[in-house]
Amino acid sequence: MRALTWHGRHDVRVETVPDPEIVNPRDCILKITSTAICGSDLHLYDGYIPTLRAGDVLGHEFMGEVVEVGSKSTLKKGQRVVVPFTISCGDCFFCKKQQFSACDNSNPAETSDASETLMGHAMGAAFGYAHLTGGYAGGQAEYVRVPFSDVGPIVIPDQLEDEKVLFLSDILPTGWMAAENADIEPGDTVAVWGCGPVGLFAIQSAFIMGAHRVIAIDHYPRRLQLAKQMGADVLDYREVEVLEALKEMTGGIGPDAVIDCVGMESHGMAIDNIVDTVKAHTFLATERPHALRQAIIACRKGGRVSIPGVYGGFADKFPLGQVMEKGLTIKTGQTHMQRYLKPLLELIREDKVDTTFLISHREPLEKAAEMYRHWHDEQDTYTKIVLKPEMAKPRTEARQPELATA
């Protein structure tokens, strides 16, 4: 089959790799119909996430048709499903507590050691996201093996087209949980850093959860425009002093809750960010948490800090005293996907949430490498890219059960 593989920093390629096969009873194999590129993929593309290996198949936002099932899968051939990006067993203590992304079993024993050393505990697994989180192949491909297919995938009714539901695989639940983690109360002003897909869905979710006002911060006009379209007030950080502007807009109090939808690769020429960039490139730190620092300083006393943005290790100059002295509450984590799939599918069905407004490009999988480049270099124009394996396929390749000879 054809798949997008990672080969090094800023080097991804679409190549022919073997087809996946059923390995465990609870597996299924999916024929991918739509897959997307995520902001998290940029962290891989930029080489910020360790333990990726040359040849790994990327992609954790995908959906498709079930073409094979293991003996214990509850799915049926022909069903259309969206697959959450985290792999969860449904049986462990964490899954039963609905802390699905903390699943204790999905990360294989051989790949658990690294995260256990780094984080103190083995992390749950995810698709197409480094060996730290299991080393499972991703779904920017024609086919994918889905472990624990009786727990993760959600079956999609025929009348809902791919684009409406694809983002159930990650960014919609992630934006939703980001807003939920902000514990929004009536009258609240919520500030959101980053108007990428996660930020845009966090804005939409915050309004659904009753935020009085959402202030969105970025520097790309088109992304800010989309945020505005969702009802947010927007700040271009190149045009205003963000901290001062937020104070002005909230009568000196500051936002009640702040959401960091930027993560470890903050942009901008602020002095702390320049220092962070140097440190990250010389391995003195793993993050560039400029937006998070700003969010914490901006947050009102006793306010809430929600961090859906991904961080991988040790941040330099984390404003711990500010968190303590102001009595802030921090909530974060990889999204507990399976918790949100059903209720969000309901909202999509009832047209209460708009899931297609952010898609800027629909392209064949064959052009994935080129799309990564655009996604990285032209974030203003490329607000969300959907890849379709079936679109303009150069040649039809039969699904081969054996090792491909490429």
Binding site: T5, P25, G55, D56, V57, A125
Partner: protein
């Protein structure tokens, strides 16, 4: 009943049994009916215990252990003063848990061999986990370097263990303690190529949380070139091995399968049905 040890070794009173380990003292198992081997004196360690129906089994295990193999598992898992179970006891913990004086004095560590292992929580009842472990024949499913287990009789089994450079080593183990739902301990018989003993303990985790499972293992590799190769691997690896084996056991018990990341990649040498590490 028990002699007072000198220097004193930590003793923990458990309702129905008390075990003392007195390093460097000879042992005689009293009240045991386990035959001549159980009467053998051991030079390096001593055990006394009283009032338990498992006594004979322990005695047997001690005797069965080859010379120099101290019987290292001594006490039941922890209870606090109110008799509430408080989880596996730290004084019995594997070497990597202890430091300083506690490590030096660890009864487990008296003959210089590393004690490896750890405790995991598994969301299943004790009896169920015990039953699977007691079978022994399922070990190859979750123990990476155990290729085969052949049951010789109800307490003895022959293990075929993968060694470096494609070699295998044979170990015959005998169960020396068997408390249904609680403990299984085994030692290697003298004809084994590796001197080893192991123990698995099952204890209730807090209500609704399943079972604490603690696996403890010790090895003494054989002499010669193979021995040195095995030793090299084992000195580096046994803790990792125990950790991974336990993790797979937990995965198998909780999910019914052992997750594996076998999937396609652009690496030509890999098959999509084999684990990628």
């Amino acid at each position: 009943m028990a002699r007072t040890p000198e220097p004193p070794v930590e003793t923990v009173a458990v309702e129905y049994e008390e075990i003392l380990i007195i390093p460097g003292e000879a042992t005689e198992i009293e009240g045991s009916d386990t035959g001549s081997r159980a009467k053998r004196r051991r030079p390096s360690s001593g055990v006394e215990r009283g009032g338990s129906s498992n006594r004979a089994l322990i005695g047997l295990g001690l005797a069965a252990a080859t010379a120099g193999a101290a019987f290292f598992f001594a006490r039941k898992a922890g209870e606090n003063q109110n008799g509430h179970y408080t989880g596996p006891r730290i004084s019995d913990a594997p070497d990597h848990v202890l430091r300083g004086k506690a490590k030096e004095q660890s009864a487990n560590n008296q003959d210089g061999r590393a004690l490896v292992g750890r405790t995991v929580t598994i969301g299943k009842p004790r009896q169920e986990l015990y039953a699977v472990w007691r079978e022994f024949t399922r070990f190859p499913e979750f123990m990476d370097n155990v290729r085969q287990i052949e049951k010789l009789d109800d307490t003895r089994s022959r293990w075929t263990i993968e060694a470096p450079m494609g070699a295998t080593v044979q170990v015959v183990t005998r169960i020396v303690e068997d408390v249904p739902g609680e403990t299984i301990a085994w030692v290697s018989e003298p004809e084994s190529q590796i001197e080893t003993d192991g123990r698995v303990e099952f204890a209730d985790a807090p209500p609704g949380r399943g079972t604490y499972v603690r696996l403890l293992l010790r090895y003494k590799p054989p002499a010669g070139a193979l021995g040195r190769a095995v030793a090299k691997v084992m000195q580096r690896e046994p803790n990792v091995q125990a950790r991974r084996d336990l993790r797979r056991f937990k995965q198998l018990m909780e999910t019914g399968e052992i997750p594996v990341n076998a999937s396609p990649s652009g690496r030509k040498s890999e098959s999509p049905t084999e684990a990628r590490i």
